[in-house]
């Protein structure tokens, strides 16, 4: 099995502690070089922060695991400089089709609006994602990535965290100011620290099969409820890179995983699904169950939990790796400000607050999907089948069909980092909103708004003609760049160019004005993670500074 991919083997090197025989102290250590740990390390590194990344293995994710990477995760990977590679190798898609028995009852488009850079979703085997992230981590510098370095003890204290690390050459001790834990669902570090994670196991089993075939299935997500080829259960089909198709068969709780995994039992299921003699080759088979649970708090002093270590959801909706990548997007700018002494440590409490809210939203949506896909009682199944039966003809029922609510970013509307609106706006770009993309023309050759945003606080200021700004406005905008927490002003315009020292972005298709409800004089304050912090109808530099102070816990 597994003929399309060759697993890399990353070189273990004797760590300097063992080579030199002395302990060392690090400003920040990340544990776990999966998608979430790697994005954390890369994000820190591109912000100029040297980081030590430890992993207990020496290769990438084995077998068929994460598949779908959503628009928001791709936008974050773009900010980290590796979105293009993922999208080029992955299979982009927006359309999902849902079948009930032998009929299509519903289809959806994840990105129904035009003029966004990234598609709703790409399908890419997790091993490719990790391989590209490792390559990116090596290219950005600042990252000391140590394979075969297994953390066996963690001792937190008020002023530092002490780690004991085991390697093929023996064990060593290190200390760090900050520890980011990205060691996955079973999180050994969470266990070592005796921290609880609460939730439930779902009483169902799913068979995963990766098959290689030259098939003419379109690049869409296909989901079947109770299909003729797998009665009373569900089936999900995704096309991945290299003509590898990922199929998930629901088996029910009583199924015997060892029996179901045998090729002689898997192959007839796939043949029944394809319905003909088309040739395919089995690449990977496994059976999984899943849990929905999260830690109460993602911050424990100097120890910060991200990704599956902090929260796990059912796979329907691709809300696992996608939310983990969003955790790091939220955490890293805050951690860097705290490490640089520009924000108090309590800013990190807002990482936990904001991402706990997001985790609860992900848990809620994925649990609802699971309850629809695998009804737990007779009446629940009757309602489910009634919805599916009505969906073919009646639009209201289509809206209730839930074969997975696919990963979208949370609106952090309850966050205390937001400055509440004092002016009125239409649309959804409220304080706490993940910022919408739009096509632009900019001096740096960027073509998308989200390529211009990120890494620092920025103020989008709208003027129809950037060349016609009055002197007082220019002074106010350029003045925002002064101080300990500088704000980069960007003039969004239909035409013209702002005076030297001020960036101009041309709203090429009028989408920024439309999506952000801009009027002349409107200003949006953007966080370093491309979320709205505040917005006003009139520019007032003092209010901008106050909003930055609030968004960094400096108020």
């Amino acid at each position: 099995m597994l003929s399309t991919y060759k697993y890399p083997k990353f070189a273990y090197r004797r760590p300097p502690e063992l080579a030199e025989g002395r302990d060392r102290h690090y400003p920040v250590v990340v544990v776990g070089a999966g998608p979430v740990g790697l994005t954390t390390a890369i994000d820190l590194a591109i912000k100029g922060q040297p980081v030590l990344l430890l992993d207990n293995d020496d290769t990438v994710s084995i077998g068929s695991r994460g598949v779908c990477y959503a628009k928001r995760a791709l936008e974050i990977l773009d900010r980290l400089g590796c979105g293009d590679e993922m999208v080029a190798k992955g299979v982009s898609w927006n359309v999902g089709r849902t079948f009930f028995r032998d009929k299509e009852v519903f289809n959806f488009n994840l990105c129904p609006e035009p003029d966004h850079h990234r598609p709703g979703m790409i399908n890419l085997q997790q091993y490719y994602l990790e391989e590209y992230l490792v390559r990116r981590a090596e290219a950005v510098g600042n990252i000391d990535l140590r394979w075969k370095n297994n953390v066996i003890a963690v001792t937190p204290a008020d002023d530092r965290v002490t780690l004991r690390v085991e390697t093929p050459d023996g064990a060593y001790t290190l200390t760090t100011d900050w520890l980011v834990v990205a060691d996955g669902a079973r999180s050994p570090i969470r266990t070592m620290l005796g921290l609880d994670i609460e939730g439930k196991v779902f009483m169902d089993r799913f068979l995963i099969a990766d098959v290689v075939m030259k098939a003419d299935f379109p690049t869409e997500r296909w989901f079947w409820f109770d299909p003729p080829f797998h009665r009373n259960q569900s089936v999900l089909l995704h096309r991945q890179a290299d003509n590898v198709f990922r199929i998930d068969f629901q088996l029910g709780w009583q199924a015997d995983p060892e029996h179901e995994k045998k090729p002689e039992n898997v192959i007839p299921r796939i043949k029944a699904m394809l319905g003909d003699d088309r040739e395919f080759e089995l690449e990977w088979v496994s059976v999984y169950t899943f849990q929905c649970r999260r830690m109460k708090d993602f911050r424990h002093g100097r120890v910060l939990f991200v990704g599956d270590a902090a929260h796990q959801v059912s796979p329907f909706g691709a809300r696992g790796a996608n939310s983990g990548i969003q955790d790091t997007d939220n955490l890293v700018w805050k951690l860097k400000l705290v490490m640089d002494g520009k924000a108090p440590a309590r800013l990190l409490d807002t990482y936990s607050e904001e991402r706990v809210c997001a985790a609860d939203e992900n848990l809620m949506n994925s649990t609802r999907s699971t309850d629809f896909i695998t009804p737990k009682s007779t009446v629940s199944k009757t309602f489910r089948n009634a919805v599916l039966g009505l969906a073919e003809h009646y639009p209201f029922a289509r809206a209730l069909v839930n074969s997975g609510r696919l990963s979208v970013p949370s609106f952090l509307t309850a966050s205390r980092l937001n400055t509440p609106d004092s002016d009125s706006f239409a649309g959804v770009m409220v304080p706490g909103a993940p910022m919408d993309d739009a096509p632009v023309e900019a001096a740096g050759g960027q073509q998308w708004l989200l390529q211009v945003l990120g890494e620092r606080f920025q103020l989008l200021y709208y003027a129809p003609d950037a060349g016609a700004l009055d002197a007082a406005t220019v002074r106010a905008l350029t003045g925002l760049a002064d101080g300990a927490l500088p704000v980069e002003a960007i003039v969004v315009a239909e035409r013209g160019r702002a005076p030297a020292g001020l960036a101009t972005v041309i709203d090429a298709k009028g989408r920024i004005r439309e999506r952000y409800d801009l009027a002349p004089g409107t200003a949006y304050l953007a966080r370093p993670d491309q979320h709205v912090a505040a917005r006003w109808r009139r520019l007032d530099a003092e209010r901008v500074r106050a909003a930055v102070a609030r968004a960094t816990c400096n108020a």
Partner: protein, 74 residues
């Protein structure tokens, strides 16, 4: 008035950022209402629910249309 078969669920005062949210809010409430009931009890809950909602709708022309669609293909 004709029977509305377009998506129509919402909760006053609640802001939705995703189109699927109001329908999913309702569906969860519906399934939760039946939690831990026997099949017979669930059938009774459904009957009472239909009677309550029918009275709320009031317009027998609308109800006739809904009853007809509900029966089709079952």
């Amino acid at each position: 008035m004709a029977l509305n078969t377009q998506p129509n669920l919402h909760e006053p005062g609640k802001r939705y950022f995703r189109a699927f949210s109001p329908g999913d809010d309702f569906y969860e409430l519906l399934i939760d209402t039946h939690r831990d009931l026997t099949d017979e009890q669930s059938a009774m809950v459904n009957a009472r629910l239909i009677l309550l909602l029918a009275n709320h709708i009031g317009d027998i022309g609308v109800l006739r249309e809904a009853l007809k669609i509900a029966r089709e293909g079952v």
